[in-house]
Structures are given as C-alpha cells and as structure tokens.
C-alpha cells in the first residue's frame, strides 16, 4: 500500500504528463495549415512570395506607348539599356493601362553623371572591352567643344551615335563634293 506522500507524488507526475499532453495538443492546433506540405515550412509562403507586386516592367512594355522613343532606342547602341533604369519603374507610371504619374526625365549635368556611370575610362576597368569609354574632360577637349557641355548636347541619349553618324554622313557627302 502506497503512503499518502507517494500518492501525492504520483499525482504530481500525472499532472506533469497531463500538462505536457495538453501543451502538445494546443501546439498541434496552432501549427499553420500548409506547414509541412513540402517540408518543415509553410507551403503557403511560396504563393505569398509569388504574389508579391511586380514593380519593374520590360522595355517592350514601355515601347507600347512610346513608339517614337522605341524607334530611336532600338536602332541605337543603347538598345540594351533599360528604360526604367533612367526613368523609374513602370508601376510608378502606369496603372491598368492608364498613366498615373510622370516619370522623371534626366536633364543637364545629371545626364553626364549618368553616362559616366558606364563610360568612364578613368576607373580603368575592363568595361572598355564591352563598351566605349571616355575620359573627362579630355574627350571634350579632343572634340573641341566647351568643357561645360553635357553629353546629350552631342549624343542622343537613346542612340548615342545617331547625331554623330548623321553629321558624318553630311560631312562625308560634303567631302565627296
């Protein structure tokens, strides 16, 4: 026959087991539904991530409404440059096919800074084998233009050699004459 003390202790053990059991039951209830479908994670999180809003479009989506720029851009050496890099994201500009806000257009010195992000010989990088680079202000001096000139005063930003080639065509014709 067990003493009262021993009975009390057995009661304590039973209650510890009971509390743990209840705890595990509560735990089972609180685990999210899709948890464990593919692994030890919430499978719904995949779809939630897939539903995240898209903010960048593609160049093609811009050209749909900007055929003039598209024509220049696609013909020039800058055809691989993303419209949205210079102008901002599609989602800030268009909603359900309608314009909701203007996107910024770079002006003046901003343009030079932007160009030199890629076309700067000074950083002595390998970009020279991928694209053409220039050193400033040497380039301006060589081309005999004012040092205050911005790049877009000679280069069309969408097709950088457009004006240059046109000018060459004209001067070339003149030389033939």
């Amino acid at each position: 026959m067990l003493s009262k003390h021993a009975m009390r202790i057995i009661l304590v053990v039973i209650s510890v087991v009971a509390v743990s059991g209840v705890g595990l039951l509560v735990k089972a209830q609180l685990i999210p539904k899709s948890f464990g479908l593919y692994g030890a994670y919430r499978a719904d999180a995949i779809d939630e991530e897939a539903q995240r809003v898209v903010r960048h479009g593609t160049n093609a989506s811009c050209f749909g409404c900007h055929p003039y720029e598209a024509k220049t851009h696609l013909k020039g050496d800058h055809k691989t440059i993303s419209c949205e890099f210079c102008h901002g994201t599609y989602s800030d500009h268009v909603k359900s096919g309608k314009k909701i806000a203007d996107l910024p257009v770079k002006k003046g010195a901003e343009i030079t800074t932007l160009c030199l992000r890629c076309h700067n010989t000074e950083i002595k990088a390998r970009s020279t084998i991928v694209i053409k680079t220039v050193a400033m202000p040497d380039h301006l001096e060589q081309q005999k233009v004012k040092l205050t000139h911005n790049c877009n005063q000679c280069h069309n930003v969408h097709a950088p050699l457009k004006y240059i080639n046109e000018a060459k065509k004209i001067t070339g014709l003149m030389e033939e004459h």
Binding site: H5, R8, I9
Partner: protein
C-alpha cells in the same frame, strides 16, 4: 562606410596582402548578435555551474558542499528564470517567440531551445521543491490564509515528514539531479554548438566550441556561487565554511584548467593549421580583439587567476588569507567568462565573411540591446533571489553560533 576601418586595418601587419582594402560585405557592417547574445550564454553558464555544485552534493555526495548546495539550486533557478529575457530582447519579432515551440525545424540547432529550456526549468523547479519540502511543510503549518494555500501547493499537499517519506524524497532528488546533469549540459553545450555549427564563421565553427562553453560555464557558475556565498554571508555577519569554499575552489581549479586549455587549444590550432581563413582569425585576435582577447581574457583574467589558484593549491595558508583570495579569484573568473563570451560572440562577428576586413561594434547605452538593458537583466535574478529567500532559506545550516539579528529559523536538513 566607416573611414576608421581603413585606419584600423593599417595596424595589421599579418596577412596584409589579403586584407589591404579592409573590405567588409555591405550587409556585414552591422553586428547582428550583440550584447544580449553575449549575456544569454553567460546566464545559462551561471545556471549550469551553480547546478554542478548542487549536483556534486546531492548526487555525488560531496558532503563539504552542504553549506552552498541549497543556495546554488536557488541561484541556478533565479538565473534560469531570466535566461530567456536577453533572447526576447534580441529577437526582431519577440511576440512570435512561440513559433520556436510550435514549429521547431528539425534541422536547426537553435530550434531545440524552447523544449530544452522548458525541461530544465521543470527539472530544476521540482528539485528545489523536493529539497525544500521539509522547510515548506513547517512554514505552511505556521502560516494562514493564502500563504497556507501556497505552501500546500508547493509541498504537493503532502505534509508527511516521516523518515520513509523523506527517504523517498531523497531518491527523487537524486533521480532529478541525475536527470538534470545531462539536461544542463545540453542546455549549455547546445549554446556552444549554436556557434560551433556556423560554418560560415571560421572563428566559431569548431567542434571545441560546445566543450569550451561547457567548461567555462562551470567556471562562471562555481565562481558565482563562491563569490555570492562569501559576500552574502559576510553581509549577514554569518560564519563562512572554509572547507566548503576549499572544495569549491578545487572544483573551480579543475574546470578552469580545462576551460582555459581548450580556449588556448582553439587559438593554437588556428595558428598551427593555417587554414584558408587563418589570416583573418589571426588578424582579428591581433587587431580588433588585441586588448579584449590577449590582454583582458588571457593575461589579466586567465593567467593571474591560474597563478593564484596554483598558489592556493600548493601553499598552505590560513583561512583568513584563503577566503579573500578565493573572493578575488572568483570575481576575476566571472569577468573572464564574460569577456570570453564577448570575444566569441561579438569578436566573431567583427570579421566579415568577405575574409578581407573587419567591422566595428559600438555598444549603445539605451538601445533595446544596450548596456542599460544588460544591467537591468543582470539585476533581475538577484531580485528574484531576494524574493525567493523569503520562502526558501538560502542556508541549510541552522544559524546558531553566528552573530545575527535575524530570527532563528528552524530548517530541515537533508
């Protein structure tokens, strides 16, 4: 980026060809695990070490530890109560902490925390209740109303103090303490493994990490018990049991030799193996951590205590000299373990995964994980201890023979 980084770098001569630019990955500039993660292993370490003292008495029958046995249980309990506080303060989303219990990932070393902590808390609480049952029964008899109910609950509604009942209690205590040792070892060894299991960080990823953490935990816990015992007894003008302190110090010496040897073994292995990241670890210890590691952790807080401990072991001395030295050694070793945790946790993160540079850590005062929060968290266990002392008397011995203004309590022995 911090321009000081470049200056700090120029002082490093070793491995300079790799480190010259002090390049830190952009996301590595911020130290994500800061003082709270230093504090957390420190607190669980104190719990572990204090528990070892209790285990030596209750399981391994080291009789001389009787004076501190019950106190170390309470001490361990008070600190275990606060072990989760630094973690909660650290978490970005503390309100979601129960996710750890709900969906613990089977692959993660950290996921076990909730369960390991719950088990250690349960085991330790029951040990305390069984150890104190005779006292609680006596007190319950004398009290009235709500307090009487509380005492009834704490004694499992059993006022049986017969020899047979107490023998059963002793068996249960031995069983629980026996269970508690692996639980405590897992609770703290796993903290070490949390660091040791991060392969991305060369200063952390070593199998020695759990071992170092375990031994240093014992060092800090035993030091804390020695220091607290001496200070509290002195403040209460109570006698100090020199034999008990001597046993503690001997145990402490053993654990500290192991802890320090492994700490040095880790550094030695790094510098001898000269693996790919060696230049980074060397640069870290000789650069950003030069003073906190070599000067503070090794020279001041390890070599000096080692000399003192050796002196205490080999030279016969009077208690009046032995006890003050014990106090000093314990205090230094408490600091040693804290600095060691700092150097592992924060030091390890100063090294960018770029293997090319170090970031800097500036402790804030009023941050959620700042210095003030550290002070508050370290104060709470002592408040808990004080409150606990009202119900659970610290010292097993009757207070006869000491000059005390406190009322003499009748306490039950074990």
């Amino acid at each position: 980026m911090n321009p000081n980084l470049y200056e700090a770098q120029s002082t490093l001569s070793h491995g300079a060809s790799m480190l010259i630019s002090n390049y830190v990955f952009p996301n590595d500039l911020h130290v994500h695990w800061s003082m709270m993660i230093v504090l957390y292993p420190y607190i669980t370490g104190l719990v572990d070490g204090a528990f070892i003292i209790a285990a030596l008495y209750y399981l391994f029958d080291v009789k001389s530890l009787k004076p501190v046995a019950r106190f170390s249980l309470l001490f361990a309990f008070a600190f275990l109560c606060c072990a989760t506080l630094p973690l909660l303060l650290h978490l970005g989303r503390p309100e979601r902490n129960f996710n750890m219990l709900l969906t613990p990932s089977p692959s993660s070393a950290m996921a076990g925390f909730g369960y390991i902590y719950a088990i250690s808390m349960g085991v330790l609480s029951f040990i305390v209740l069984f150890v104190y049952r005779p006292d609680l029964v006596e007190r319950g008899k004398k009290s009235k109303g709500v307090m009487k109910l509380i005492y009834r609950a704490l004694t499992f509604d059993s006022d049986d103090l017969s020899k047979k009942a107490l023998e059963l209690d002793t068996k249960i205590i031995r069983f629980l303490v026996g269970l508690g040792i692996p639980v405590a070892a897992v609770l703290h060894g796993y903290v070490g493994f949390i660091f040791g299991g991060v392969k991305a960080n060369p200063t952390w990823s070593t199998p020695l990490m759990p071992v170092i953490f375990l031994f240093s935990a014992c060092v800090s816990g035993i030091s804390a018990i020695v220091l607290a015992y001496i200070v509290i007894r002195k403040l209460g003008s109570l006698s100090i049991d020199a034999a008990c302190i001597k046993t503690c110090i001997k145990t402490l010496t053993g654990f500290f030799i192991l802890a320090f040897s492994f700490e040095m073994l880790e550094v030695f292995s790094h510098s001898y193996l000269k693996t790919g990241y060696h230049h980074m670890v060397e640069g870290l210890l000789n650069g950003p951590l030069a003073s906190s590691f070599w000067l503070w952790q090794v020279k001041i807080c390890s070599v000096i205590p080692l000399i003192l401990l050796g002196f205490m072991a080999f030279v016969k001395m009077r208690d009046s000299i032995y006890l003050p030295i014990s106090t000093i050694v314990s205090a230094i070793l408490l600091l040693q373990v804290f600095i060691m945790r700092w150097n592992v946790v924060i030091g390890g993160q100063l090294m960018s995964k770029s293997a090319r540079g170090y970031t800097v850590f500036h402790p804030e005062w009023f941050d959620k994980e700042g210095i003030l929060a550290v002070i508050i968290i370290m104060t709470i266990p002592f408040i808990i201890l004080y409150v606990l002392g009202k119900i659970f008397p610290f010292w097993g011995d009757a207070i006869k023979g000491s000059i005390s203004s406190k009322p003499v309590r009748k306490t039950g022995g074990n």
